[in-house]
């Protein structure tokens, strides 16, 4: 199940507000998701998971609208239509420990309305093979490593070839090789479908995402191409032989030289900014604006 073209918008959220008691988790967030991978960056507690939950129809916002595949996702029928085209990997996917990997994905397949046993089992085998767990499908969940469990949860999200895939920090706990495999998989999955990927891995965003959204304190601070986010730090990244106390961030690299992000002194040797530099600059700008 895929979107028909790159211009298709799978989900459009407008002015979403969500409060947990006195805390405003989302404060007028607007977001548009089309084909390809959209990265969601932000500090801990910024509202990323809450935003994913709203888009995944797990929680209902206090205000604003969410439209998915042409339906009002906050209405009953619209919510059901979205759920039928959704694959969701929560930040903390729980498991029934006594289930095998196969049984767990089979259970989720039933929740996704795949009731014909032979077709369902074929689909379970397909998604488990997709995440490279063909050989481990008979193992109990409690016997699998954290990385393998994460792959099982991803397999469950891929049941039914969803048109919208929401992944909340899917690469947490994975080793570099597994992360690379996931990255390859996400790149493939982004072909012809909308993928919303929340992550702290800026390299994932740089290598995978067509669009990156930065959220902080419940508000969208940036929406654009990863290169544009990196561009926010243009002229603000430099290197020197010693620490620069006034810099926003300063660290000694493996070569022994220091890399700084912030306002450079005159004559500094400027470096090409990365997306991480852009993110740090953006967060600092917001903090500065907040103080002024």
């Amino acid at each position: 199940m895929t979107l028909s073209s790159a211009t298709d918008v799978a989900v459009r959220a407008e002015g979403v507000v969500l409060r947990y008691g006195r805390t405003t988790a989302l404060d007028g967030v607007s977001l548009s998701l089309g084909t390809g991978v959209t990265g969601l960056l932000g500090p801990n507690g910024a509202g990323k998971t809450t935003l994913l939950r709203v888009v995944a129809t797990a929680v209902r916002p206090d205000a604003g609208s969410v439209e998915a595949f042409g339906h009002d996702a906050l209405s009953g029928p619209g919510r059901l239509a979205l759920r039928r085209r959704l694959g969701y990997l929560p930040q903390d996917p729980g498991f029934h420990p006594s289930f095998t990997a196969f049984e767990f994905v089979d259970y989720v397949a039933i929740l996704k309305e795949l009731t014909v046993r032979s077709a369902r089992h074929a689909e379970v085998r397909r998604v488990l093979a997709l995440v490279g767990l063909d050989a481990q499908r008979g193992k109990r969940m409690r016997a699998l490593s954290g990385g393998m469990r994460q792959r099982v949860a991803l397999a469950a999200a891929l049941i039914g070839d969803p048109a919208l895939l929401i992944l909340d920090e899917p690469t947490v706990g994975l080793d570099p090789e597994q992360r690379m495999r996931f990255r390859e998989l996400f790149a493939d999955l982004g072909e012809g479908r909308a993928v919303l990927l929340s992550t702290h891995q800026t390299e994932d965003v740089m290598s995978l995402c067509r669009t990156v959204v930065v959220i902080d304190q419940g508000r969208v601070r940036f929406t654009g191409a990863p290169a544009d986010l990196a561009g926010l730090a243009a002229g603000r990244v430099w290197t020197s032989d010693s620490r620069a106390p006034g810099a926003l961030a300063s660290w000694r690299t493996g070569t022994g030289a220091y890399r700084h992000v912030g306002d450079p002194p005159s004559g500094a040797l400027l470096l090409e900014p990365t997306i991480e530099d852009g993110y740090l600059t953006l967060v600092d700008l917001r903090a500065t604006e907040g103080q002024s």
């Binding site: 947990y20 759920r83 729980g94 196969f102 996704k112 309305e113 009731t115 369902r120």
Partner: protein, 261 residues
């Protein structure tokens, strides 16, 4: 015998499980009556297909005793599988409920039948509290965002838990001095009250609260809830709580935001 035989292409697709109804049905009917086509279809079943099917059969989840029982009484296999994830339907849980009921019945036999009537309705309450909800069902977030309506799954699990407890309660009633079903309506009323309260607080809090109120009522009123007037009042309570619960059904379709503060 018919002169018509299934074309090779259809037999190949049949062997590869790629033939769709209604062609599938007519082919199966024909194969049952035609030895020639049966021998031809064998040629299209490759060894790899056979291994793949064997592999698939070995992969298929092996249903446990409760799941097998549910299927045996006519519950569709996919529904039975959804129910197996309910802690209160595990054999260990049901065994614990059964033992508790029998012991309570024996105590009631020796002391006072009201002991059994008071305790029996509390057990399904615990089962319901352990059936659904954040912190109870580890896959709750995935469940809530699935197309299966949360309220439907909640009712499915609760009805099954209640039915299992009622059957165990009926068996345990045999140990009482005189058979009594006075615990049945309280069980129903307390369960529906717990579900209703679960739309506002966590199922565990709801069960504890409702259970505490029930203990106070029985301690204060003695056998009154099990008299005709008491039972009619409980029946009215079941009807009222059910209507209110139906009106709160949508609440179970999303995560309770109070948990995620």
């Amino acid at each position: 015998m018919s002169t018509w035989h299934v074309p090779d292409d259809d037999l190949r697709r049949y062997a590869g499980r790629g033939l769709a109804p209604p062609l599938l049905w007519s082919t199966e009917t024909h194969l049952a009556a035609c030895p020639g086509c049966r021998s031809r279809v064998a040629a299209f079943v490759t060894v790899d297909d056979g291994w793949a099917r064997l592999d698939a059969a070995l992969d298929a989840p092996r249903p446990g005793p409760v799941e097998r029982l549910l299927v045996a009484v006519g519950v569709p296999d996919h529904t039975a599988r959804l129910l197996t994830a309910t802690p209160a339907l595990r054999l260990s849980w049901l065994a614990a409920v059964g033992v508790t009921l029998v012991l309570t019945a024996l105590v009631a036999h020796a002391v006072n039948p009201t002991v059994f009537l008071g305790v029996a309705p509390l057990l399904p309450l615990l089962g319901v509290a352990a059936s659904f909800g954040p912190g109870i069902d580890p896959t709750y977030e995935i469940t809530v965002t699935s197309p299966v309506h949360g309220f439907r799954l909640l009712l499915l699990r609760c009805v099954t838990v209640l039915a299992a407890n009622i059957m165990l309660g009926a068996v345990a009633s045999v140990f009482l001095p005189g058979f009594t079903a006075g615990w049945f309506l309280p069980s129903l009323a307390l369960t529906v009250a717990t579900l209703l309260l679960s739309s506002r607080v966590s199922p565990v809090f709801a069960a504890v609260g409702v259970g505490a109120v029930w203990v106070l009522v029985v301690s204060w009123a003695g056998p009154l809830p099990f008299s005709t007037a008491g039972q009619l009042s409980l029946l009215a309570a079941v009807a009222l709580f059910s209507v209110l619960l139906a009106r709160r059904a949508a609440v179970f379709d999303v995560l309770p935001t109070r948990r995620f503060r």
